[in-house]
């Protein structure tokens, strides 16, 4: 059988500037052994995909239609021996909850979650605020451990630490990327 074609998420020009936090997240995922990245698009996440494409070309990225579906795909990747990560916006966390509660945790299927936040300081869209504010409490309610990256230089270490926890203890873990990190200057339209 032939390998299915690998999807490419972004095609940044060679001189496009990739933010340091995004390079760090990509490096952390790589160091943790993540070679399969499932994602539902978001603007800040496109920087991570660009960093993967530029620096870690062996990584396979896969577009999912919805975040719950992304966790199902990731679970299947894990069953097949991969160490999957899923990238999503905070609004999508609300779409994942039954998969976390009835698949990942009871079956002890680890997935590294990377969440770009909306609804936190810098937000302009009121429709993003309730779900954004609920992300951390909801993850806490499931016992999913999470860290927030505050500075560029923390990104790689926090992603690697969380992924080590996830794949070592066979539970999902989440790295949250706040707007003050991903949209630091304008704080405007994401």
């Amino acid at each position: 059988m032939t390998d299915p074609r690998s999807q490419t998420a972004a095609n940044p020009s060679a001189d496009a500037v990739i933010p340091r936090w995004a390079t760090g997240v990509a490096a952390g995922l790589w160091a943790a052994g993540c070679r399969d990245i499932v994602y539902v698009p978001d603007n800040p996440l496109s920087h991570i995909l660009a960093a993967l494409l530029r620096h870690h070309t062996e990584v396979r990225t896969l577009l999912a239609m919805r975040e719950e579906e992304a966790l199902g795909i990731a679970a299947g990747l894990y069953l097949g021996g991969a160490r999957p990560a899923v990238l999503m916006q905070s609004s999508g966390v609300g779409n994942t909850l039954n998969a976390i509660g009835s698949l990942l945790i009871p079956y002890q299927v680890p997935v590294m979650l990377v969440v770009s936040m909306r609804g936190d300081p810098g937000e302009w869209n009121s429709a993003q605020v309730p779900m954004g504010r609920a992300v951390a409490p909801v993850l806490d309610a499931f016992g999913v451990q999470h860290l927030t990256v505050e500075r560029d230089e923390e990104a790689e270490g926090k992603v690697l630490a969380l992924a080590s926890l996830a794949f070592g203890t066979r539970l999902p873990a989440a790295c949250l990327l706040p707007r003050r990190l991903t949209v630091p200057v304008r704080g405007g339209v994401a």
Partner: protein, 186 residues
């Protein structure tokens, strides 16, 4: 053809293929038709059967991966057909056991009982091989075709509801662990 009869035919056709099966009656029927370590019984995450199978097919291109989904379950995650069509794994086979109702939750009718066509949905999402079968003979023909032609396949199996007679183990970690060991994963 009842769902149990259809799942029994698929079960006897299997050799070393891992199977991901939707929670509730499809999982009960697969267990009753013949338990094996390579059966991944879901107990929750309704709708994600085809997605789990897709991920497994991508991770293990050396194995044919089988999903046993239901019509209600697939309708809960119809975007999965777009993703499967988009990445087109040749080693994925999705059977949709279409009884036109939510059999596990009390028998409420699904849209397929009123004309919704899941094979057409799969085809329109670019899935290469599709079929709808309505009796054991045509299911046997589809099973033979799957052996000869790479996929991805979506086979809608029109079935009648049947009462389950057994339930798989409830220990989710046991189900996962023996499944992964049987696949040669650490």
């Amino acid at each position: 053809m009842t769902r149990f009869e259809a799942i029994g035919l698929v079960r006897r056709w299997l050799t070393d293929e891992p199977v991901v099966v939707s929670l509730g009656h499809p999982a009960y029927d697969l267990f009753a038709a013949g338990d094996r370590d390579l059966n991944f019984y879901t107990w929750g995450s309704m709708g994600l059967t085809s997605s789990i199978a897709l991920g497994l097919a991508l991770a293990r291109p050396d194995r044919m991966v089988v999903a046993l989904d239901g019509d209600g379950s697939l309708l809960m995650n119809l975007g999965s057909l777009a993703t499967i069509g988009d990445c087109a794994p040749p080693n994925l086979v999705v059977f949709v056991l279409d009884n036109g109702l939510y059999g596990t939750t009390g028998g409420q009718p699904t849209p397929t009982s009123r004309g919704a066509d899941l094979e057409a949905a799969a085809k329109s999402m670019g899935i290469a091989r599709t079929a709808t079968v309505r009796n054991e003979g045509s299911l046997q023909e589809a099973l033979a075709a799957i052996r000869k032609t790479s996929g991805p396949w979506v086979v809608v199996v029109k079935v009648e509801e049947s009462a389950p007679i057994a339930k798989p183990p409830l220990d989710c970690v046991l189900i996962k662990q023996r499944f992964m060991v049987a696949l040669g994963q650490p």
